[in-house]
């Protein structure tokens, strides 16, 4: 019997090792949600991000000149835009006073720099140089000067991992800014799409898409992108709207984490409302 197993091992050891390692990998895939693995990953990527932040700083210095030029132009454009918004703001205050609306909350912005990026067709993520010590919590939205970038997924003391919109695990409730129609947007591995849009809904190519206030992840309106096309499904009653994001995820470097997490109190209140008899 032992000789049989020894012969088997001699003849097929490459395959036996391969199968064992593949089974172990598949088993590990199922452990991703366990707290022990999450802690281990947070510790590992926290230590690694400390190293990549140094390299990232060096590469950023080389890019500062061109970045500065771009920011000067953006600054000028924003100044013009602010002037326009100031007018709208004055009108808005007057209208709010008339309607007796509550003053909008000002959200804290925590600046962060991308220290490393993980590119994958389906699991794109970035690591920022801000973490628990800076007040970052999982679930906080991340933006840059163009718009919505992603959601904080995992944190260590000084770093955090952000799942970008081009990640199949993120589904966001968005709104057509023109027609005020809500929908669920997700990454399908190829495009950002708003799924199950009824054919009768008024969504057109070129419409701006923002996050919806009914979203359980991002309850404030953030610019996401524009509708780049409607996929007409010949059968059924739903279409898909392709969305071209404002953010270039390959080039994102400086971001802000918005210091809000969806209100637990609000969720509980809504749950009580739905559960009442």
């Amino acid at each position: 019997m032992i000789r049989f197993f020894l012969k088997l091992w001699d003849d097929f050891k490459e395959y036996i090792i391969l199968v064992v390692l593949l089974i172990f990998s598949l088993f590990t895939l199922s452990l991703n949600k366990t707290p022990e693995i999450k802690n281990l990953k947070a510790l590992a990527f926290g230590s690694f991000a400390a190293v990549t932040s140094v390299v990232s700083d060096i590469t950023n210095i080389a890019k500062i000149k061109s970045e500065n030029k771009r920011l000067l132009r953006t600054n000028a454009e924003l100044m013009l835009e602010i002037n326009r918004f100031r007018q709208y703001g004055i009108q808005n205050i007057e209208l709010k006073n008339l309607l007796g609306l509550k003053e909008s909350t000002k959200y804290p912005l925590i600046p962060g720099v991308v220290v490393s990026k993980t590119f994958s067709t389906s699991q794109s993520a970035i690591t920022l140089n801000v973490g628990k010590n800076d007040g970052i919590k999982p679930g906080m939205p991340v933006i840059d000067d163009q718009g919505f970038v992603g959601i904080v997924y995992d944190i260590s003391d000084d770093f955090c991992i952000v799942r970008t919109l081009i990640n199949i695990d993120i589904k966001v409730t968005v709104k057509d800014e023109r027609s005020r129609i809500d929908g669920i947007m997700k990454w399908n591995g190829d495009n950002l799409v708003i799924v199950d849009v009824p054919k009768t809904y008024d969504v057109k190519t070129g419409d701006r898409i923002i996050t919806s206030e009914i979203s359980s992840i991002v309850p404030i309106p953030l610019p996401v992108g524009v509708v780049s096309g409607i996929t007409n499904v010949s059968t059924g009653i739903f279409n898909e709207a392709k969305v071209q994001p404002f953010v270039d995820f390959n080039k994102v470097e400086n971001v802000f984490v918005i210091g809000i997490v969806e209100s637990v109190q609000k969720n509980k209140l809504e749950l009580n409302f739905y559960n009442r008899k």
């Binding site: 990998s25 895939l29 690694f48 081009i166």
Partner: protein, 162 residues
Amino acid sequence: MRSEYIYPILIFFPVLVIQTTIIPFISLNGTIPDLIIILLVFYTLRNGQIYGTVLGFAYGLLFDLFTGSLLGSSMLAKTLAGFVAGYFANENKIEIYFKSYNFALIVLLCSVINSVINAFFSNVEFNSNLIVMIFQLGLLPGFYTAVISLISIIFYPRRNFT
């Protein structure tokens, strides 16, 4: 411990730093080369199939841990890539394989396997043509990695292969 076990792990860390910080700057429409695969093929050709399979597993584990990606996906993909690269490991043919175009072809094959498996294990909705998807997710990163491997092998001193 023998150097053939230590060096590949020591070299992995600076390569991973370059992979996550500098390589994104040379992305072409979101496609980036995978330096880890080049390293894996290089060491597998020198040390054999079992070595390559285990090294692929170790590289995948470290990659998943340090980049915060789905633990297990790269382990699986890189273990298989290392195993396939091991079929080309032969002491008598090592000089032939390290001629640039041969090395690039092996890197292309392993990189395609790695990319396609990674894509399949990420639950992407394959609602478009499967051939097109394999081309986009597997062949494009594979070609890019193979081109970069050509550059790296040109600068590698010939005498080290003998």
